[in-house]
Structure formats: C-alpha cells, structure tokens
C-alpha cells in the first residue's frame, strides 16, 4: 500500500494544463512538418507553414497554441495498491484544472448546464475517466480538447453484416461531412467494438496514441494506413482550402463486442491535438 496525498494530483494537473496548451507534443510537430514536406498544393503549403509558425510562437512565448484551450479531459490510471489521502481525488483533479486554467491565462470554456448554459468561470468540471491498474503508481494524462473538432465527431451502431466495409464507409463519411470545420489536418481517433458508451471512450483514447506510433495488430495497422491514404485522397486539405494533408493519422482502438453489434465511433481532433502525461 502506498499513500498519496491528493494535493500531488492537483499540483501535477495545474502544471500539465498549462504546458499541454502551450507546447504541441513532439509527435504532432513531426507529423505536421512531414505533411508540409509532401504537400503538393501551394495554398495548403502556406497554411501548413503558418500552422508550424503558430506552434513555434506558442512555445517560445508560452501562450496557448489555440484560444480554444478545451475541456480538460483527464485520464487517471490508478494502481490498486494506492491509497489516496488528504481529500477527495476528483475534487483534487478539479482543483488542479481550476488553478491551471486560471493562473495559466487559459480560456474558460465550460458551461454549467447544457441547455440553460452559464459559464462556470474556471473551466471545471474536468471530464474524468479512471482505470484501476496493477501497481502503486498514478498515471495522469490530460488531453485538452477543443470543440471545433469534437462537434464533428460521430458514433454509429453498425450491424455485424456491415462488416469491415461498413466501418470504412462510416469513418470516411464522418471525415467528409466534417470537411473544413474541425481545423484539418486532423487526427482521426476510431473506436470499434465494445458497447455504446465504451466505443466513444475508445475513440477518445485512440487520440492519445502518438501519431507516429503503429498499431500492434497488423490487421488494424493496415486498416489505419489504408484509411489515412483514402482520407488524404479526399482533397479537403489543410483548413479545407484543398490539398493533400487532410489527416496526420488514423488511430484505431478495439474491444470485443456483442454478437448483435458492431459499434463504431469516430472522434476527430484538430491539428492542435494536445496531451501530456505524468506519473506520480
């Protein structure tokens, strides 16, 4: 058993909210630069140059890459030997988010009620997912998620008979419908399997995987490559002005599913796909 004071979680998140929003992860930087190298449309190349210039300015001046500093999407992997002391864990997560977004001059984008609206003023509550894992450590990941791309995401309960072709068609259709809105070049997080709620979470978790990583399953690795090629043949291009670089990566995560179903979720993320992890 290891005791961890929840204030350590709050302190980590306070730091991470800020750094995740001002510094684009290395994999995304490399992905965008690589897209620029192969871009064959002049207008798209100009857009990519400005996108690169923007994340360089953000890092240099420690300002948010994008004004939409997102909802604070927080993943906790808690070792089952951990005993939290000093208060409630989720209160500590929200305290870290509150301090990070306030002290870090990040935008407060959370409405207290979805219909009646009203800004909470401190970007809380965070959207928290907790997994219990073996061990005595706590892995904290924050992935600030803007809504330009979140709004273009979709979930479909496909039939088993829809099969692989149905999955491909749904993913391509979702990217096509999104068009210029989600700030391409995008990252396409795909969840396949599980059930209604878990498939959405899979798609979100797929966005945490580095864009230059490979799916360990050769079947899904090939599917990711095929879909990326097809998406980049759509011609939407950076910002939708026309060009090759519509997506930087397609990341697929899967779960076993029911005999009657084939759930598929597509969580689209913009060229400012941010995530940061710390282990306590």
């Amino acid at each position: 058993m290891r005791e961890i004071d929840v204030s350590a979680v709050a302190d980590a998140l306070e730091r991470m909210c800020v750094s995740a929003n001002v510094q684009l992860p290395g994999d995304m930087q490399r992905g965008i630069r690589a897209a620029r190298e192969v871009e064959d449309s002049p207008i798209a190349a100009t857009v990519l140059d400005q996108i690169i210039q923007n994340f360089e300015i953000a890092k240099e001046e420690q300002v948010p890459i994008c004004q939409d500093t997102g909802m604070a999407v927080v993943f906790l992997e808690v070792g089952q030997e951990v005993h939290f002391v000093g208060g409630n864990l989720y209160d500590a997560v929200n305290e870290g988010v509150r301090r990070g977004y306030t002290k870090g001059y990040l935008r407060k984008s959370v409405e207290a009620d979805p219909i009646r609206r009203g800004n909470t003023g401190d970007n809380t509550p965070a959207m928290i997912t907790t997994d219990i894992v073996p061990g005595e450590k706590v892995k904290i990941t924050i992935a600030p998620k803007g809504f330009g791309s979140e709004n273009m995401s979709a979930l479909r309960m496909l039939k088993p008979s829809s099969g692989l072709e149905g999955v491909k068609a749904f993913i391509l259709d979702t990217v096509e419908k999104a068009g210029p809105n989600p700030c391409p070049p995008i990252v396409v997080g795909v969840g396949i399997g599980g059930n209604f709620d878990h498939v959405a979470l899979l798609a979100k978790k797929a966005l945490l995987r580095p864009v230059d990583s490979q799916n360990p399953d050769p079947f899904y690795r090939e599917l990711e490559e095929e879909l990326l090629e097809k998406i980049n043949a759509l011609g939407i291009g950076p910002q939708g002005y026309g060009g090759r670089s519509t997506a930087i990566a397609v990341n697929i995560e899967t779960l076993p599913t029911h005999i009657a179903g084939l759930p598929c979720a597509v969580n689209i993320s913009c060229h400012v796909t941010r995530h940061e992890t710390e282990v306590i």
Binding site: S41, Q50, V63, P64, Q67, R107, G148, G179, N181
Partner: protein, 190 residues
C-alpha cells in the same frame, strides 16, 4: 490577388473582393460568438440596439483566451462559423459587411451575402498565437457576463485573411478542393 484594406468595409470594396484573394485588414472589428449573437438578435425583438455600429462592420467569430500581463489579448483564432449561420443573415441585413471565421456556411448565409454585398473571410483555425500578433487593442464593450463570449472591439493591423466566399457566392471550400483534385488527376496521382 493581394489586397490591403482599411476598415470599415464599404459595400463597393466588399463586392470588389473575390474568392481566393489574400486580404490584410486594418482598423476596427468586433468579436461575437454564439451567445453574443443570440443576445443581440433576441434584443432586437425587444427594441434594443446592437452594441456597436453594424453598418459596414466586420465581425470576428472568436472567443480569445485571457491576456497575460503585458499582452493586448490572449490567443485569438477563429471559431467554427456555421454555428452563427442562424443569425448571420440578420446581421448582414443590419449592414454588417464582413465575417471572419472558419468552416462551411449555409445556403441562407451565402444568399444574404449576395443580396447585401457581404464577404466571408477565413482566418487559420488553430493559429491563435499567430493571429493575436495582429491585434493591437482590445476593449470589452458589451455582455461582460459572457466571459470569453463577450463582445470586444479590436483594433487590428494587417490581419491576414483569405476570401472564402465572396459576394457573388463563389466558394473556396468547393472550388479549391475541386481544383486540387483535378490537378491530382491530371498528374496521374491515384
């Protein structure tokens, strides 16, 4: 074509802009997003005037992040314009001339642009740190309670934009993509 324009944006200038033109705007623009548009348009029905002079105005769909000490404004890139489609024809009818944002617009908005002589400019979505450098002054003028969605009067210098849809209804999202795909086909790229 490259154009450098001083605001306000007259109908004559607006109608002379064409899809694909690279435009640098200087002068005063106003910020408004979903909540501000809703409040402005609802207010009209109650006889309240909108909080700025709409004639020949350019509206930037943006909710900036807060300014750090010493900064004029935080990061300030465009939000998705389609969410403002519900109110944009009314704003154009009130004399607003330009909209700055990103993403597709509805047929109704494009028809209103043609009728009144409006232009839809694109700023690069997600390039908030870069775009903020062109904002020289920021003043909150209405709806402070809306936080990032409050209306701000911004003074900009050479704000880099692209004409996405012009007053003739030509649309870069459609034509730019079609042209790229045509070029690709001609080059024999599968």
């Amino acid at each position: 074509m490259e154009r450098h324009i001083m605001l306000p944006l007259t109908e004559e200038t607006a109608r002379s802009l064409h899809m694909g033109d690279s435009v640098y705007l200087s002068g005063v623009i106003y910020t408004a997003r979903d909540a501000a548009h809703e409040r402005m348009i609802d207010g009209l029905a109650e006889g309240k005037a909108i909080p700025f002079d709409s004639k020949d105005a350019v509206i930037y769909y943006v909710g900036p992040s807060p300014a750090k000490p010493g900064q004029v404004i935080g990061s300030a890139g465009p939000t998705t314009s389609g969410r403002m489609d519900k109110w944009a024809p009314t704003m154009l009818a009130l004399g607003a001339r330009g909209m700055i944002g990103k993403g597709a617009r509805s047929k109704e908005v494009i028809e209103a642009m043609k009728e009144y002589g409006g232009v839809y400019f694109g700023a690069i979505g997600g390039a908030g740190a870069l775009l903020a450098k062109c904002i020289k002054k920021s003043e909150l003028i209405a709806y402070e309670d809306l936080g990032p969605e409050a209306i701000r009067k911004l003074t900009v210098e050479e704000l880099p934009l692209l004409v996405l849809i012009d007053a003739d209804g030509r649309n870069l999202y459609e034509e730019g993509r079609a042209e790229y795909l045509k070029g690709r086909e001609q080059k024999g790229v599968s």
